[in-house]
Subunit: 353 residues, 2 copies
């Protein structure tokens, strides 16, 4: 049995206004200052709704669930949901609070189970849940978050519950696909996109399509919301892969090179593999395929990614997905919230954390 | 990473009529022969409903989910649900099929995650899911089964979805409570019952209360169904604990002494601890508390349980819970299905597998 090492102190959390500013980026918060307090209030309401359902009769489970949910994170999903709701004409986002809380719980549940599967020690600058509470509690806490999410979703019509369920099924499939392709660079970008669309993009698409449905939007707008969410999700993930190699681990709150360690064939590694040839290509493939990598192996992999000059091309691809996301929004009438949604797509592709 | 060892052949499954006969016991199938084909058909319909939702686009996930769900098992829950529905006057159990399938999926999901947590190698006579498909796939397959269960539950009114969700939350709490008390005999029977009521009984109670609600029964009958399910669940679990020491591992499909190994303080171990004194009590406590036990330790623990003569008292307790279950049914009008439900309570307390 894993011996759980309890965290010694509550994690420090950023105030929501700082968090939202960071998520939106300084550039954007300057331009859209008047939206900030509105979104901060929306986010606070969604957070409260989420915390309201975490209470178990057994305190250690409540603690673990709260720990998982209070890790901060960028809150991209709930901000997107609130912003879209307002862009579609809502002046009060109360009707989507439970749904946004549900999606946030589902997202958190999958991070918890991911951390179990990936043996991740850190998450957002502090010990991961399995590290802090032990493996058994991490597994069942993930289940608990799923259950609470579905309870929240049960407030909505069946069409929304089912969309939520299908997105979760996609998520699980994405995880399985990812497992099947670990340590293998030969499956290529098709495999990568199959994983990302399921693991990252599907749930963003489903959450935004559901917001459109709740807002009473047309099918065309609902499809646009879904397409926007999907493309933004892909941009976000590609950027995530780049940050895992070129980011600042202090800002990210976790060590770099996690994808090398776990053998996840990211677009960056695939592009590198494509560009290298001869001995260096063989070396990259061999090192990438090793189940246990030494620190020196990780640095050598990084050096080969540098040498291949793959980052520029991959960053360009992320921007293309952001572009695709903003184009999907064309059908939405102009408003400051629409501008914000467009900026968030670019932010997903260009963020530093 | 765990290297998944694929199962080489599909598990053999018992035909449903044999399975139902075994679950009901020979004695009972003799008396209530005319009910058998009806229940076998109900069970076949519920099984089909469950299998219908297992398909993922990625075959390996479908395979894992199907493997988990085709392990046979006694199908006590769906038989109870169908029998109660008929005892309350239904002539067609179609309205409960999706719900019974959902509860069966939830039950299976928790067994899968239990097997991850308990490092169980065998389940029902074949490799456990983590053993057969690897740890990562076992974790996400459990999630997948939960998701599919909630999709099925979304057909029902919110009151039923919420009861289903609360039972799942209880289940998770039971698991956490159990974790917190491992290798410790001092928490006593109160702790044991807190675990069992949440981990085993709550979901049976919730499934039967939901059947009563779907049947349009009064609140009194709904409460009776819940009380019956809860008491039967406790009887079932106590019997499970006894079989883990005194059962036939060939019939059970798993090795004996799992609770000793995992340090689960069952009623049998608690009763033994209570009855022993002096050196033998200290020895029992010390051996029970060991994180890693040798085969000789397990046999010595068994010998001390024998010496304490604890089994008779514990079996009597199981029968008292069965008695409590049958008393809860008094409000239900007489019928062959009511007789069957009473027998199933006794069967839970006295079964050999």
């Amino acid at each position: 049995m894993t011996s759980p090492a309890s965290p010694t102190s509550e994690p420090s959390e950023l105030p929501l206004d700082v968090l939202v500013s960071q998520t939106l980026g300084e550039d954007l918060t300057g331009k859209l200052t008047e939206l900030l307090p509105v979104l901060v209030q929306d986010l606070a309401d969604i957070d409260r709704r989420m915390r309201d359902v975490l209470g178990a009769t057994f305190p250690r489970l409540t603690d673990a669930a709260t720990y998982a949910c209070s890790a901060g994170g960028k809150r991209v999903r709930p901000v997107l949901m609130a912003a879209l709701h307002r862009a579609l004409g809502a002046t009060d986002t109360t009707p989507i609070h439970s749904l946004a809380a549900a999606f946030q719980l589902i997202h958190t549940a999958t991070l918890v189970h991911d951390d179990v599967i990936d043996h991740a020690e850190m998450r957002r600058g502090r010990p991961s849940l399995p590290q802090a509470f032990g493996l058994p509690l991490a597994i069942v806490s993930g289940d608990y978050l799923f259950v609470r999410a579905f309870e929240l979703a049960s407030e909505y019509p069946r069409s929304i519950i089912m969309r939520c369920g299908e997105a979760c099924a996609d998520l699980v499939e994405g995880e399985v696909l990812q497992e099947s392709g670990r340590f293998d660079l030969t499956a290529g970008p098709e495999h990568y996109y199959r994983v990302v669309e399921r693991k990252t993009a599907a749930i963003v698409a489903a959450s935004l399509a559901s917001v459109a449905e709740i807002a009473g939007a047309s099918t065309a707008v609902l499809d646009a919301a879904s397409a926007y969410g999907r493309a933004l999700g892909v941009a976000f993930q590609i950027r995530d892969d780049v940050l895992d190699v070129y980011g600042d681990s202090d800002i990210l709150g976790k060590p770099l090179y996690g994808d090398f360690r776990e053998g996840n064939p990211t677009l960056l590694s695939l592009e590198t593999y494509e560009r290298l040839d001869g001995a260096r290509r063989a070396e990259f493939e061999r090192l990438f395929g090793q189940r246990r990598k030494q620190p020196g192996d990780l640095l050598r992999l990084r050096a080969l990614v540098d040498a291949a000059g793959a980052a520029g091309r991959v960053e360009e691809t992320a921007r293309q997905w952001a572009e695709r996301a903003t184009r999907a929004l064309e059908i939405v009438p102009p408003s400051p919230y629409k501008i914000l949604l467009e900026h968030m797509a670019w932010g997903a592709a260009e963020r530093r954390f």
